[in-house]
Every structure is written in structure tokens, then in C-alpha cells.
Amino acid sequence: MAINWFKYSAPTTFYGLAGKLIPWFAISAAVLCIVGLYIGFVVAPADAQQGEFYRIIFIHVPSSILSMFLYLIMAAYAAMGLIFNTRLSSMMASAIAPTGALFAFISLWTGALWGKPMWGAWWVWDARLTSELILLFLYLGFISLHASIDDPRRADRAAALLAIVGSVNVPIIYFSVQWWNTLHQGSTIKFTGTSMHIAMQQAMFTMLVACWLYAITVTLMRVRSIILERERHTKWITELAEVKA
């Protein structure tokens, strides 16, 4: 019975809890975002070398960081789902994946826009950019595999195995790409924010937190839909207020 409780009621309680938490996360994300953008665009001064262009940093860096962390979190949830057979963890993993992929995409997009004025090219095959691109591919692989399998349980387990293999590979990929690039050319592309202005740091940090909160909000919203969909046969779902309405 104890196992049953663990297995079946975790999504039950989580569904309600998530519903209550979502507005709070959403509001704080919005507020922090406005504050961060205000500091970034109004308070922080222009950079000595890059002029105004550096202001892309406030969205670029948070999304880069998030795309990487979200992969790890996704893989961890997926592994939990695979090993302990907890359904909620697998659902969380598949809820995180699209958000992670979108952040990777934003990072690539903003980076490309930044590259144009800085390097005169939309894209260079720099180690960091390349590994971000590969990260996007890994996300897409996870999502595609999950989408191509119809049986949700098999999909969860297969995608989880892929995510684990991927996360073992991520460090290998990261170092190999870095090494690949430096072997060819010197560090023509090095941006070091050595003496960052304090307001810049504040803005970036605020935006980072805002992005975290946004990611949490969206993930929770998505996971609620997934719970609804997968558990639609259970009794508790049919007794939910929003279903009865």
C-alpha cells in the first residue's frame, strides 16, 4: 500500500500544489524581468569597447546558463523516473525539455545577433557556440524520440536512457569542442567582461533569476497538462473542479 501511495498520489498532490504556485512564480518573473530590463537599459552605462551592443548580455547570458542547467535537471528527473519508476519525475523531464530547447535557441539567436556587430559575422565556429548548438541537438533528440513513441511509458523510459547517455557525453563533447577550436586558431574571439560595472552585474543577475522563475512557471504549467492527459482515467481527475465545470 505504501508503494501505491507513493506511485499514485504524488501527481495528485502535485497537481494542486503546482496550480497554487504558478501565479506566484509568474508574477515574480514578470516583476524581476521589468526591474532587470530597467537596470540594464536605463541605469547601466554603455560599455567602453562595445557601446550599446553589449546590452544583449542581459538576455543572452541567462538563457545560455539556463539552457545548460535545464539539461542537467531534465536528465536528473529522467533518471529518477527510470530508476525509481516514479511517474511524476518522467513527466517533469518531458515538461522541461521544450523550455530548455527554447532557451538554447534564444541563446543561439541572441548570440548570433551579437556576433554581427562584434565579429562582423552572424556565426563563427567558436567552441562555445558549437557546443551550444550541439546542446540544442541533444534537446531535439530527446524531444523527437519522446514524440515518436506512442506508448507514454515506453517513451519516458527510452527518452530517459537517452538523456542519461547524453549527460555522460556532454562533458566529453564540451572539452573536445573546446580543444578542437583552440588547436586551429588562437583566441581571436575572446570576450572577457573583466571589469563589469556594478549595475551591469545587478541587471544580469536579476534577469537570470527572472528567467529561472519563468522556466519554473512554464514547466509547471506544462506538467499540469501532462498530468491531466496521462491520468485522465483515474478517479481524482474526473472529480477535479475544472473537469466537472
Binding site: 557601446g51 545577433l113 519563468y214 497538462s225 491531466l228 485522465r232 481527475i237
Partner: protein, 57 residues
């Protein structure tokens, strides 16, 4: 080429439109998709419930 010139002259607009507008558009689309998904799922669940009820009768 004209993009280059425009970019140099209006760096702030370039940043706003290029990065932030796109990023927020993506966020908005993602939120819209998630809400749409929830609506559809709820609809399906309701349909299923009604089907079950009519079966029992």
C-alpha cells in the same frame, strides 16, 4: 548591407527588436502554447468523462 548601417546608427533598436522582441515573442508563444494545450486537454478529459457517464446509464 543596409542592415549594417542601420545597426550602427540605431544600436538600441537593433538590440531591442533583434534580441528582446524575439526572446519575448518566443516566451509569449510558449506560454500561449502551454495554455492552449491545457485547454485542449481539459476539453478531452471532459469529453471522456461524459462518454463514461453516458456508458454507465
Amino acid at each position: 548591407m543596409s542592415l549594417d548601417i542601420w545597426m550602427r546608427e540605431n544600436p538600441l533598436s537593433y538590440i531591442w527588436i533583434g534580441s528582446y522582441a524575439v526572446a519575448f515573442l518566443i516566451f509569449a508563444i510558449e506560454i500561449a502554447m502551454v495554455m492552449h494545450k491545457r485547454k485542449i486537454t481539459l476539453q478531452q478529459v471532459r469529453l471522456m468523462r461524459e462518454a463514461d457517464e453516458s456508458e454507465q446509464e
